[in-house]
């Protein structure tokens, strides 16, 4: 098969998402397996939900970190949610960043929190881009 063949590209990209640790293979495959006639694009639907949810959570985190005093308890809650959400699509790097952030949060380290938040946002942005590209390709392939 031609390397540039769209199907090949899709597979390649998928594989690299896994290999590079962006996405947990098992979880993602499970999402794909849930696809059926009723939900032919189930994986993509879930990922889209994830974007919405994440955007909201990130916004909440930012708001907390802006306020003084920082409500670490609430932050911890939100991070817990974010972790849960990330696990839904297997967003590994995002989840790891959240865990780190959570550690700073337990330590009530505002500085550490703010720094790590940037990391979370970054990982999220990268992942989102990749996934969007991936699904675009998937749709093109049909």
């Amino acid at each position: 098969m031609d390397r540039n063949h769209p199907q090949h590209q899709v597979l390649h990209m998928r594989r690299s998402l896994f290999d590079q640790g962006y996405i947990d293979k098992e979880q993602f495959i499970q999402l794909e397996e849930l696809q059926d006639d009723a939900n032919p694009n189930f994986a993509e639907e879930i990922v889209t939900l994830f974007y919405t949810d994440s955007a909201r959570l990130i916004q909440n985190i930012e708001q907390i970190l802006v306020n003084r005093p920082i409500d670490f308890a609430r932050l911890d809650d939100i991070l817990h949610q974010f972790k849960g959400s990330s696990s839904s699509i297997g967003a590994k790097k995002v989840k790891e960043a959240c865990t780190q952030l959570r550690e700073y949060c337990s330590a009530e380290n505002a500085e550490g929190c703010m720094r790590t938040l940037q990391l979370v946002k970054q990982e999220y942005a990268v992942l989102k881009r990749k996934l969007e590209t991936y699904f675009q390709m998937v749709r093109q392939v049909g």
Binding site: L34, L49, F50, S85, S87
Partner: protein
């Protein structure tokens, strides 16, 4: 998709149709779980808020089989929700979290969670959740049975093989309480000492349970509700929730009996004798249910082949409720049971009304209306059993045989869930025969129990036992039928697989319903006064024994305060 209850492993319809309520504030997970559960052929309802979940659960008691909830909910702590559900609805609850910390998990279990799943959750984990429902049901039945003083005797024949079907109970001391794995129904304390805990679980002692049953009977099964029961019981420390939960279990138990009965009747050969005979030596399936015979003795209830046909046992005429035990000796294991079952869909709100001396307590009667389609006549032909025709009459005594939907050919081995229709309700009322209870307890079709196709594999064997058709116990279908289809099906399945035959020996002052299931699983209903019935060794003799008892004893009034039809136990032999 079949909504089977617990079918035997051979039947792969269960656990399809399991009704799951998923509660999670994470929309992504909610959607994934919903999809996964649907793939497992479960029926899924989702909720993003704990309070919404509680609303749904309260609105539709018995509308769900199991709840899966995330631990972290914004409006309510997941553990709190767990407690509520356990207390009020007594459903199995599975907790979920992305956090797998042991202390959290432990907390979940302490609060009564059946299981604690870690996110990301895999489909295979969800596939297995039905086990919790199943387990709980078995335990519930056992609880109630032990309260009812039944003793179960394990059928040696089936051995452990039966345990899959969930219906074999090993002989146990009725007072023995079992700890369930996820919830303990019985606390150490004796009387529901409220100080304890969040669980506030009540120990339902035999006495307490009898008070409960008595209250239920007094109120009238169709009118029963936790508050009224509670008032009547007059037990100060007992709460409405305790009663509600117990009532729910009781209903499930009764529905299970009914299923067994149906199963049994359809499965076994039932010998029908003219029920109007007093001493019908055997059991007659009375054709016209309406008549109330004063000679309760007849009380032969027969459910034949899936027609839960309850014969009207002398209802009001008896001054005291008497328990009739009807036993139908079957000389042959049922085999080809051919039943023409009326279309299940025609089943009315399945109610089985028994009017009989079967112990309405306090003068109320247990009305068993066979739930069946309005067309009752069902012909069952067993190879060795005379054909019995049941005529369904619309008087109160009639049995609407919800179970009459046995498929004509016995070769049908599975229960068709879609045939399971309304569960007959037992209404205790002091009305006379002319009451047709159906109206009251019309349950939605959903709760209807249809005659289950008999699963012949198990039962057909050589049961020498008779099949007393005592639908009385069976017919104790709760009024209102909150029983979900699943539970019905479950019990049905169980019954079917085990092939229950019921015996209703009548004993002095005692009514025993013996349900011989398949291999004579018989649960001894009634009191411990007749220990001989508990003797496993007696199994083979039971039929005769009971038969005789039937013959002689039906006129014995039983002490109404002690026995009620509902208190018939299942005698598992």
């Amino acid at each position: 998709m079949m909504e089977n209850g617990f079918s035997s492993p051979r039947n792969d319809t269960f656990p399809a149709g399991l009704r799951v309520l998923v509660v999670d504030d994470d929309p992504t997970w909610l959607k994934i779980l919903e999809k996964m559960l649907k793939k497992c052929s479960y029926e899924v309802t989702t909720c993003g808020l704990a309070r919404d979940a509680l609303c749904l659960l309260r609105e539709k008691k018995d509308g769900y089989d199991i709840v899966i909830s995330d631990v972290n909910m914004p409006d309510m702590d997941g553990f709190k929700l767990l407690e509520h559900v356990g207390l009020e609805m007594d459903l199995p609850v599975i907790m979920m979290s992305v956090d797998g910390e042991t202390s959290r998990v432990m907390k979940g279990v302490q609060h009564g969670a059946c299981d604690y799943l870690l996110k990301p959750i895999r489909m295979k984990e969800l596939r297995n959740i039905w086990q919790h429902v199943f387990r709980k049901r078995i335990h519930e039945v056992r609880d109630i049975e032990s309260l009812e003083g039944f003793e179960s005797i394990q059928m040696p024949r089936y051995g452990s093989d039966q345990s899959d079907d969930g219906y074999l109970f090993t002989g146990e001391d009725p007072t023995m309480r079992k700890r369930k794995d996820c919830e303990s129904k019985y606390d150490e304390r004796d009387c529901g000492d409220p100080s304890s805990s969040k669980k506030a679980r009540v120990v339902w002692s035999v006495d307490l349970h009898q008070k409960f049953v008595k209250a239920v009977n007094q109120i009238g099964f169709d009118k029963v509700g936790p508050k009224r029961i509670l008032d009547l019981m007059n037990v100060p420390w007992l709460t409405r929730e305790n009663v509600a939960s117990h009532l729910q279990k009781y209903r499930l138990y009764l529905s299970r009996l009914q299923k067994e009965n149906e199963l049994k009747t359809s499965a076994g050969g039932i010998k029908h004798t003219d029920s109007s005979k007093d001493s019908a030596g055997g059991f007659g399936l009375q054709n016209s249910m309406n008549s109330h015979h004063n000679d309760v003795s007849n009380g032969s209830y027969g459910f034949s082949g899936g027609n839960s046909f309850v014969q009207n046992l002398n209802p009001k005429s008896l001054d005291c409720e008497k328990k009739e035990i009807v036993s139908v000796p079957i000389t042959e294991t049922k085999r080809a049971l051919t039943v023409d079952i009326p279309n299940p869909r025609k089943v009315r709100s399945s109610q089985i009304g028994f009017e009989s001396s079967f112990a309405p307590l306090g003068g109320s009667q247990v009305d068993f209306t066979a739930f069946a389609s309005t067309t009752i006549p069902t012909r069952y032909s067993w190879s060795d059993v005379p054909e019995v025709q049941f005529r369904h009459e619309s008087k109160s005594t009639q049995l609407e045989d919800g179970f009459s939907q046995l498929p004509p050919s016995r070769s049908q081995h599975h229960i068709q869930a879609d045939h399971i229709k309304p569960v007959p309700s037992i209404s205790f009322s002091s009305s006379t025969a002319d009451r047709s209870n159906h109206a009251n307890h019309a349950t939605s079709t959903e709760s209807a129990i249809d005659p289950l196709p008999v699963q012949t594999k198990n039962h057909v064997t050589n049961h020498q036992a008779f099949d007393p058709l005592s639908t009385t116990a069976l017919s104790l279908k709760n009024q209102g039928f909150n029983l979900s289809c699943i539970s019905d099906l479950e019990s049905t399945q169980r019954n079917i697989s085990s092939g229950i035959e019921t015996l209703l020996p009548s004993l002095d002052e005692d009514i025993k319903f013996c349900w011989l299931q398949g291999d004579y699983l018989a649960m001894n209903l009634g009191l411990q006064d007749f220990p001989e019935y508990y003797d496993p060794g007696i199994v083979s003799e039971v039929p005769i024994h009971l038969y005789d008892a039937l013959r002689h004893d039906y006129d014995n009034p039983c002490d109404p305060t002690e026995y009620s039809l509902i208190e018939q136990g299942l005698f598992i032999v």
